[in-house]
């Protein structure tokens, strides 16, 4: 018999990260062999795993490159002054800071995963175990983040200084200890908030607050990375801002004890390092235990009240019914259902239509943070205005933004819970599918216009160029939308527990986003290679994708009718 806490922790980890337990594996092993179908499923799951692994490697490599570049530049700047040890202090501070934001967002979004979680309260589990399991679960993902960041700094330091083996051991212990405190701190903020504010205790509020926190963090992180990237070659600036007596790092490092201890652990020899490392581990363990014991009852209580909703009760008068219940065309009613379902589901809205507005803000931050002269950039783009290049750049911007909403490539997946019911209604599946395309394309058109205006207005694109760029952006966006809806019809994600999985964690969305980048990159190379005139460009990058999109759309309903009929949702 297993003690309750390990079982609870296992459940929490599996549920939070969507992992399959050992039982699931056993179940798979005893399933009857289904010949080719099983082989196809195995191939699909292997392909999916490999694809995801590649994505994870790319993502991790991206961050490693950023962190390595930053740390290497710092090391080069600090080494001549003999202050290269500050690299570890900087990494410890940065990791603690990042983990606090990411940990807070993770703790918030996993506070109550589903109604199934509140059923745990009916089991004979102690509140401290419930919260303890949650803290450890959130800690695990944040440990990986801290490891990624700090191991890069330790690696750079070790590369240059060749320290003894104890450096690596104490480094690992520091990486284990440091994320605990920011995660625990997140719960010291969250649990009282959730207990006091009823408005926060529902899925939508969590999604909105989490989205805002995540967005603010992403923009700030982006700004910081872009801003520091432009300063990394300036050794004097690094010395002044990181090693000076009034530097923020020195002050914060001295004030934040765990980071200071991590720094001391890396530079206090075999015995001293061991003591500092153990001190950091002890602080983390004591605070985590304290949080579980002190906050556990309040956490359990807030969990039991999570999702309480107050229904708006207004007697429907005759006038209300006359105003609201009016016949509309089937196409319009299907289109409006799509719009409402998307715009009212925070996770769909944030990852769909909102992207169109968010992307230009991110690009603007990148440009501003780089500290480049906007005038220079404008002059450079304006210099392209004589030929078709500026028009092509504006078109690429529009096409990228227009095809970035992931609406069509998740459209069938998002309906997984109601697909069976939809199929029982007298709705022509062709109309249903067309409404989905029109919904996605309406946001693509908006995105394409925003993208073209963004570049066109900034760089002073001549009037005819605006029309040409918009035409190309719309054509390429439509083509990608058509590909997206074909893909999601052929391989929809029909089994999911929360809307995030239907859209944000949908492999089809990842394929389309990466595919769009590859396609636009390929078209850019092609344009540079062909060096076509304005009209030839319009034909090649406007009319051709428009015709392909029209052809794909014309063939789509017939396929959708057949495929959707065969889906077993």
């Amino acid at each position: 018999m297993r003690a309750p806490f390990p079982s609870l922790l296992r459940f929490s980890v599996l549920a939070t990260y969507g992992l399959k337990g050992r039982g699931a594996k056993d179940e798979g092993a005893i399933k009857p062999l289904l010949g080719q179908k099983r082989n196809a499923a195995t191939f699909k799951s292997v392909a999916k795993t490999v694809g995801l692994a590649i994505l994870v490697v790319l993502l991790v490599a991206d961050f490693v490159v950023i962190f390595f570049g930053t740390n290497w530049a710092m090391y080069q700047a600090l080494k001549p002054a003999g202050l290269q040890g500050l690299l570890i202090l900087n990494a410890a501070m940065t990791a603690s800071f990042l983990v606090f934001f990411i940990g807070f967002a993770t703790a918030l979004s996993t506070y109550c995963l589903s109604s199934g979680e509140s059923l745990l309260l009916s089991l004979p589990l102690k509140p401290k175990h419930l919260l303890g399991a949650k803290i450890v679960t959130v800690y695990l993902s944040n440990f990986l983040l801290a490891f990624l960041l700090m191991a890069t700094a330790y690696g750079v330091y070790a590369w240059g200084e060749h320290p003894g083996p104890e450096f690596y051991i104490y480094g690992l212990l520091s990486i284990i200890a440091l994320p605990v405190i920011p995660v625990v701190l997140s719960y010291f903020i969250l649990v009282p908030l959730m207990s006091a504010l009823r408005a926060l205790r529902n899925k939508n509020a969590v999604m909105i607050v989490g989205g805002i926190v995540g967005l603010a963090f992403a923009l700030a992180f982006n700004f910081a990375i872009q801003a520091s990237a432009s300063r990394l070659e300036d050794s004097a600036w690094i010395l002044e801002h990181f090693a000076g007596p009034d530097a923020f790092l020195a002050k914060a490092g001295m004030a934040y004890l765990p980071a200071f201890i991590a720094w001391k652990a890396s530079s206090s020899g075999l015995f001293g390092g061991a003591l500092w490392s153990l001190a950091n581990l002890a602080i983390g363990a004591v605070l985590a235990a304290l949080a579980a014991i002190v906050l556990g009852p309040a956490y359990a209580s807030s969990l039991s009240r999570f999702g309480d909703v107050k229904i708006k009760r207004i007697k429907a008068s005759r006038g209300f019914l006359e105003k609201k219940l009016k016949a509309r065309s089937l196409r319009f009613t299907l289109f409006m259902r799509e719009v409402r379902n998307m715009n009212r589901e925070p996770v769909y809205f944030i990852n769909g239509p909102m992207i169109v507005l968010l992307m230009p803000v991110i690009v603007a931050i990148m440009v501003l943070a780089q500290g480049q002269s906007l005038g220079e950039l404008k002059a450079m783009l304006a210099g392209l205005g004589q030929g078709p290049w500026l028009m092509l750049i504006a078109a690429a911007s529009g096409a990228f933004l227009g095809s970035s909403t992931s609406i069509t490539c998740t459209s069938i997946s998002r309906d997984a819970k109601v697909l069976s019911y939809i199929k029982s209604l007298p709705i022509p599946i062709g109309e249903y599918a067309l409404a989905k395309f029109l919904h996605g394309f309406s946001f693509s058109a908006f995105g394409a216009a925003v993208g073209v205006v963004f570049i066109g207005a900034f760089a002073g694109l001549p009037a005819p160029g605006w029309a040409g760029a918009l035409f190309m952006a719309l054509a390429v966006s439509a083509f990608i939308d058509v590909l997206g809806i074909w893909l999601d019809t052929a391989n929809p994600r029909l089994s999911w527990d929360n809307p995030t999985a239907a859209m944000k964690q949908n492999l089809n969305a990842v394929i389309v986003i990466l595919g769009t980048m590859a396609l636009l990159g390929g078209l850019g190379v092609l344009a540079a290679f062909l060096k076509l005139g304005v009209w030839e460009n319009l034909l090649a990058f406007g009319l051709l994708p428009a015709l392909l999109a029209a052809g794909g759309l014309a063939l789509y309903p017939r396929y959708a009718i057949k495929k959707i009929a065969s889906l077993e949702s």
């Binding site: 009760r313 019914l321 009016k326 509309r328 089937l330 379902n341 069976s420 019911y421 209604l425």
Partner: protein
């Protein structure tokens, strides 16, 4: 009238044969109960009957219209209440009803009159402007029932309709079933509640392991089992136990 002929369905995902060569006829004006233990194939049969699932073989007719070839016309002839009322949670109740009325092309005045009457009967008039996501399971179930009748269909197909309903709403639902039957319309529903089937149904079918093991009235069932005064529950257990190989 609903007719199923030789319907079979095997799930591609796991190879389970849920319905095996099933034939059934539900006549106009009758209340027909569809009974069976868990996993017997009730919901699969209903999903095939409504077009939510494609049958591997066999034929489904609604009012004489073939569901495969005259898909939309056939679907317009029934209202359906599924086993899971988790529908369109982001829509408001009135938006959902208007959507369904648009799909069935119900004229403005009829959709208003039926919404007003049915919503009032099921006690959901005051929540029509609320989001479906904020509803309890019972309220969602009531909304589904109202939506299924908004086109006044000639056939009413319900999968476990009593689940989640309060006693008053369950009573109202049974009353509506009787009213519709008297008006010559067909009511087909699945249930686990034997007392409901015993009191309400003109005829019943019992399904087990994907095949029909009995179709007829309660009297016919009793006659087949020796003509005693056993309850439907006792007869049902007797039949399904026998199928399992002699019972406990």
């Amino acid at each position: 009238m609903i007719r199923l002929e030789g319907v079979s369905k095997t799930y591609a995902k796991n190879g389970t044969k849920a319905v095996d060569d099933l034939s059934l006829e539900v006549r106009d004006g009758e209340i027909f109960g569809f009974l069976g233990p868990n996993g017997a194939g009730k919901t699969t049969t209903i999903k095939v009957m409504t077009g939510a699932l494609a049958a591997d073989s066999g034929r489904v007719e609604i009012d004489g219209l073939d569901l495969a070839s005259k898909n939309l016309e056939a679907k317009s002839r029934f209202g359906y209440v599924g086993d899971n009322p988790e529908l369109f949670s982001r829509l408001k109740a009135y938006e959902y009803l208007n959507f369904i009325a648009d799909v069935y092309r119900v004229p403005d005045n009829e959709r208003r009159e039926r919404t007003e009457a049915l919503a009032s009967r099921f006690g959901i008039s005051d929540v029509l402007s609320a989001s479906i996501g904020s509803f309890s399971r019972g309220m969602k179930q009531k909304l589904c029932v109202v939506a299924s009748l908004i086109n006044d269909p000639s056939n009413w197909i319900l999968d476990e309709p009593m689940v989640g309903l309060d006693p008053q709403s369950a009573f109202d639902l049974k009353e509506i079933m009787r009213e519709r039957s008297k008006a010559g319309r067909t009511v087909f529903f699945s249930t686990h509640v034997m007392e409901v089937a015993e009191r309400l149904c003109d005829r019943i079918a019992v399904i087990n392991k994907g095949g029909i093991i009995f179709v007829g009235s309660l009297e016919e069932l009793r006659a087949r089992h020796g003509g005693g005064d056993e309850t439907l529950e006792e007869l049902f257990l007797e039949m399904t136990d026998a199928e399992e190989g002699g019972g406990k």
